[in-house]
Amino acid sequence: MRMYSPEIETMKRREIRQMQLERLKHIVRYAYENVPMYRERFDAIGLKPEHIRTLKDIENIPYTTKDDLRDNYPFRLLAVPMKKIVRVHASSGTTGKPITCGYTRADLDNWSTCIARILTMAGATDEDIFHVAFGYGLFTGGFGLHYGVEKLGATVIPVSSGNTERQIMLLKDFGATALIATPSYAMYLAETAKKAGVLQDLKLRLVCMGAEASTAEMHEALHQILGAFPTENYGLTEVGGPGVSGECREKAGMHINEDMFYPEVMNIEENRALPEGEQGELVLTTLTKEGMPILRYRTKDITSLTYEPCKCGRTTARMARVVGRTDDMLIIRGVNVFPSQIESVLMGMPELGKTYEIIVDRVNYMDTIEVRVEVGDTGLLTDYSKLEELVAKIRHKLRVVVQLDVKVKLVEPFSIKRAEGKVKRVTDLRKH
């Protein structure tokens, strides 16, 4: 299997750990000496950079959280003078101030390398033509993927987001072989192309998705429509954007760029590192970042790690697809529900469309959860009993998976609003 950085991607575990330890020691000292917040935090608990002697010692370093990034908005976490920063990105900032990230020239180069590796493991080569449907702007996705594609040596078409009809036209006319989009927008493009009857004119063979989590069922549905191979990759603005990890052709977890990021999976409440295979919150440390080094960032994303070498030949640690964010987890009548559980049920049913929304409310002190999903199969319209059976079937499947009675409402195709950026599937109307 083709690799972009085979010397890194097939390193022996012992060598990876050795490299990570050296880089960790360096980045801890670097952050301590150049970022006032880290110096204050370390000093407050009497921690010195030289106390980090093993990888395990990382657990003595306090976490960095989203609030820390907000409190230091916009540039107080930079470790270099602004002159050395060649680019700034920021998160979408749905709540209050955005999260910023500053990059030195070396940071940008490393970032592109991470992306080039991820695209290569997804099956891309320098022959591919990439249609980038991520927004270009402060969002890390557009420019991040863009320069990664260039580094790979493939062709990049910077379409950006929006105007779906035009996207379809360009996909067709420019003959893109690979699509870069959020999973929800990739699905919307696929549905729209199908509706317009142009699927046979598309040359797509790869769909590289990021910026939101997706499920195996969603990948399968997308594969069915487009006939292209879907993979997912992972990253977040706080540690530089996409490029932390990505799926290879085995689709057995996302390979982490371990020379750039040190991953831990933690049980936060008990402040306990979890062993391989156990699910907890992903905590990331940047190992090479000059512009804005981040130590032990709490991603809020729930996943697990495996260090088992992959069938593809890579030895890098793999993280499971994110099952949800601690932020996304809904507690309904005391039951923990992740929207991804609901998605896996809906995507597995061919009678349904591929877009849905979840509405949570509280009526008379009782939590209610409603799922709205589009009807897909016209064969259901011959009589009411078929539609009613379908509703009953969805309710039953949801009950098995989430252990709650979920209200199901069938809606008309294309009546649920499509997102062109990050999708918002859940509306929580409860007043906490």
Binding site: L381, T382, L410, E412, P413
Partner: protein, 140 residues
């Protein structure tokens, strides 16, 4: 022999029926029949248009989910018990009527019945044997 009917899935909320009827109206497509039953959340709008094929294309392009169903159409005299006779014919032969609607055109002394049954072929031959006049789309 059979009459094609279009079925459209429709959410039970204001403005939806207008969207459908207007989509066809502005294309100059006439309704021959239209029937709606509703449940709490959604309904199925069933209709026959003067030009069913075009109506199907127009609605597909507007993003509606459209299905095609074949109905049995019969013409009976517009007098008491005419409908009951057709229904009893089905019942005696254990054929289940899933739904039915009927109408009388002005200036006609016959009534038209459109029905969907669980065993279409058998129902058609029963009706034919009884000499009941079956409708095709053209007669409508």
């Amino acid at each position: 022999m059979l009459v094609k009917q279009l079925s459209v899935f429709m959410e039970n909320r204001p403005g939806r029926l207008y969207k459908l009827t207007h989509a066809l109206g502005k294309e100059g497509i006439d309704f021959v029949t239209l029937s709606i039953a509703d449940t709490k959340d959604f309904g199925i709008v069933r209709f026959i248009a003067r030009d069913n094929d075009r109506a199907y294309e127009v609605l597909k392009n507007e993003g509606f989910t459209v299905g095609i169903t074949e109905l049995i159409g019969v013409e009976v005299a517009d007098r008491p018990n005419a409908l009951a006779e057709v229904v009893s014919l089905m019942e005696e032969s254990d054929i289940n009527i899933e739904y039915l609607y009927s109408f009388v055109l002005t200036n006609h002394n016959t009534a038209k019945i459109l029905m969907r049954v669980n065993e279409t072929d058998r129902a058609v031959s029963l009706l034919q044997n009884k000499g009941i006049k079956l409708l095709s789309e053209k007669i409508l």
